[in-house]
């Protein structure tokens, strides 16, 4: 079965002249990544998804363009972009596939960001250029088999010894886990009931006692590595700890960065589905007319377009707040929650508009639909984000 795409070039979704609110560099960055996705990702993504393999051959190209940690400073080999441009990168990558965007999110927001925010100067100088250039691939170990929405309950431990640290525990649902060469592991350094003792560690994955294995049987994010990590008496030197990390707040700060990218990424997935549905509706003839000329499909398309357009403006404002330094985690929650839910709806409606063809890998909507079920659940489930925003507006925690 041919699984490459023959789709015409993607030209974006812009009903209310959203582009006029973007700066020249922001548009240029978006257009570059859009062209890269068309040229390099779209021809291989279908087969990668069917094979259940992350297309690793894309990593050098992503690094060369500067897609990894793109909003971190130039002194570490990064592009030094603002957060709107960074968001547009995520949008365009996820227009291709949520798994590819996840790879970039994890590398940039969950591995490079904590080293940048909590690391020593030596750690930053050593690791950030290697991660930006794709020579090292990172993963982020926070979630555990019994602690997903409640990461503060983690039972992974880091015991301080005379010459370093010893880590023990299990992490689960770790994106990039199997291909990572370095892992940011979060562990409790004190009492197991004490979330304040949580610290981050830089763990090269070839350290004795560290092992990762693929989680099999995924029906979603199939073009992305998802792994379980085991830490059995993993000895680390003293300088493996991220010195400025401390408490559950540190990994949650990383998640805020990643969720910000997801809010943008989901718009890209929704755009891909809308674009596919619109083109298909114009070409598919039934009862002697294109199905785009039927009221029911026009309503579907207009509903999708309306929700995408609303999400674009909401998320642009989130980006402007992030660049101004005033963005709050709750504001990220409301956008992640809205946009992923919106994208999931768009993907499902697009899949339905495509009829039987919509279940084939040649088309993209069902792949996005399946991917988005993971995106709906990871990085704070839809429900958890409801409770975070609920707490922000009522002052009452319901979790």
């Amino acid at each position: 079965m041919a699984t490459g795409t023959v789709a015409p070039q993607f030209t974006g979704v812009d009903f209310l002249d959203f582009d006029s609110l973007l700066g020249e560099e922001e548009r240029a960055v978006r257009d570059t990544v859009r062209a890269w996705v068309d040229e390099h990702l779209m021809p291989v993504i279908g087969q990668a998804y069917i094979d259940g393999k992350f297309p690793r051959q894309l990593i050098p190209g992503m690094a060369e363009l500067g897609l990894l940690g793109a909003n971190l400073p130039e002194e570490y080999g990064c592009a030094g972009l603002n957060n709107v441009a960074y968001g547009l990168i995520m949008q365009e990558l996820e227009r291709g596939d949520s798994g590819i965007r996840s790879f970039a999110s994890v590398q940039g927001a969950l591995v490079m960001y904590p080293i940048y925010a909590f690391g020593s100067d030596e750690q930053k100088q050593k690791w950030l250029p290697l991660l930006a250039s794709g020579q090292e691939i990172g993963c982020f170990g926070l979630t555990e088999p019994d602690f997903g929405s409640n990461p503060g309950g983690m039972i992974t431990t880091a015991r301080e010894t005379a010459d370093g640290w010893v880590l023990n525990g299990t992490k689960m649902w770790i994106t990039n886990g199997s291909q990572a060469t370095v892992s940011i592991i979060w562990a409790k350094t004190g009492d197991i009931a004490e979330t304040k003792s949580i610290r981050g560690f830089i763990v090269p994955t070839d350290t004795k006692g560290y092992s990762a294995r693929d989680q099999k049987g995924k029906l979603s994010l199939r073009a992305s590595d998802t792994s379980e990590i085991h830490l059995q008496d993993v000895h680390l030197p003293k300088d493996a700890v991220l010195p400025r990390s401390g408490g559950i707040k540190s990994p949650l700060m990383c998640l805020t960065q990643a969720r910000y990218g997801i809010a943008w990424g989901a718009i890209g997935a929704a755009m891909a589905c809308y674009d596919e549905a619109l083109r298909y509706a114009g070409n598919r003839v039934m009862f002697d007319r294109p199905i785009a000329q039927t009221q029911i499909q026009q309503v579907r398309l207009v509903d999708m377009l309306t929700e995408i357009t609303k999400a674009q403006f909401m998320t642009l404002q989130l980006g402007r707040l992030k660049d101004a330094g005033t963005m709050t985690p709750e504001q990220v929650s409301i956008c992640k929650r809205n946009n992923v839910d919106m994208a999931t709806d768009c993907a499902r409606e697009a899949r339905r508009l495509l009829g039987a063809n919509g279940i084939l890998i040649e088309y993209h909507s069902m792949r996005h639909m399946a991917n988005l079920e993971s995106v709906y659940t990871y990085e704070g489930t839809h429900d958890m984000h409801s409770l975070i925003v609920g707490q922000a507006i009522t002052g009452l925690a319901a979790f």
């Binding site: 560099e25 240029a28 960055v29 570059t32 060369e64 500067g66 897609l67 972009l81």
Partner: protein
């Protein structure tokens, strides 16, 4: 190696466009602009020549309103060193007028090569390059598909109908670049950020007399559906009759 690449900002051909109410220009609503495809290849060729030479300079030259600077930034973010913006309210349809403005800018620039795309993807005339060469008194090779430069001379290959032609020429020269020679590189994100710091000089364009104007534009007629006239050998006589009498192609 000092190279000037003359580029044009053109409507993005991937987008649907319509004719404006004046009947002789494009409706600007929803129109987006980009670097003309062939000009992107020309920028790529220039960058490679400078990289191979181990040094030099690539300047991009663009004529038009202030908005063309965004297109120039794209070429600069690919790796060009600087831009020269020849400001004009509109880009005249008359290629000779544009060539006069370019030649006036380029004549004292000391360029080893002046590159153009084979043609702009909007007007598809392909005349500005050769006209500029004529005004500068330089040799010109058009529609180049392969290029080597060594010891002050160039060797260029051109793909003609059914045959390839190889020409040689001394530098300085004016060349127009065809597709197939090199894919235009994507600007890297660092390149985009660096482009902000590279200079674009702006000067008023000294356009020559504009003698050609567009009187009207029309979209091609909508294609009607195909017609099945029969099946198998029995249908051949009718097909031939229709090709002779209706389509008038035989």
């Amino acid at each position: 190696m000092k190279i000037a690449v003359c580029i044009k900002r053109v409507p993005d051909t991937e987008l649907r466009f319509s004719i404006g109410s004046d009947g002789k220009s494009l409706d600007q609503a929803g129109l987006k602009y980009d670097l003309s495809d062939f000009d992107g290849y020309a920028v790529e060729v220039a960058l490679r020549l400078v990289e191979q030479a181990g040094g030099g300079e690539v300047a991009v030259v663009c004529l038009g309103p202030d908005a063309v600077q965004e297109t120039m930034r794209k070429a600069i973010s690919m790796g060009a060193d600087r831009g020269i913006h020849l400001r004009a309210d509109t880009i005249p349809f008359d290629g000779l007028s544009v060539a006069h403005a370019l030649a006036a800018e380029l004549k004292d620039g000391g360029y080893d090569l002046v590159l153009f795309g084979r043609m702009a993807t909007d007007s598809a005339a392909g005349v500005v390059g050769p006209m500029t060469a004529q005004l500068l008194g330089l040799p010109c090779v058009t529609a180049i598909s392969h290029l080597d430069i060594a010891d002050g001379r160039g060797t260029a290959r051109r793909e003609l109908e059914g045959v390839a032609e190889v020409t040689t020429f001394p530098l300085p020269a004016v060349l127009t670049i065809d597709e197939g020679i090199a894919r235009a590189r994507l600007p890297s994100l660092k390149g985009i950020m660096a482009a902000k710091k590279k200079p674009i000089e702006t000067r008023e364009a000294h356009l020559g007399e504009v003698r050609l104007t567009v009187e009207s534009m029309a979209l091609p007629p909508e294609r009607t559906g195909g017609r099945i006239i029969g099946e198998g050998p029995d249908a051949v006589p009718e097909l031939i009759r229709l090709l002779q009498t209706e389509a008038k192609v035989l």
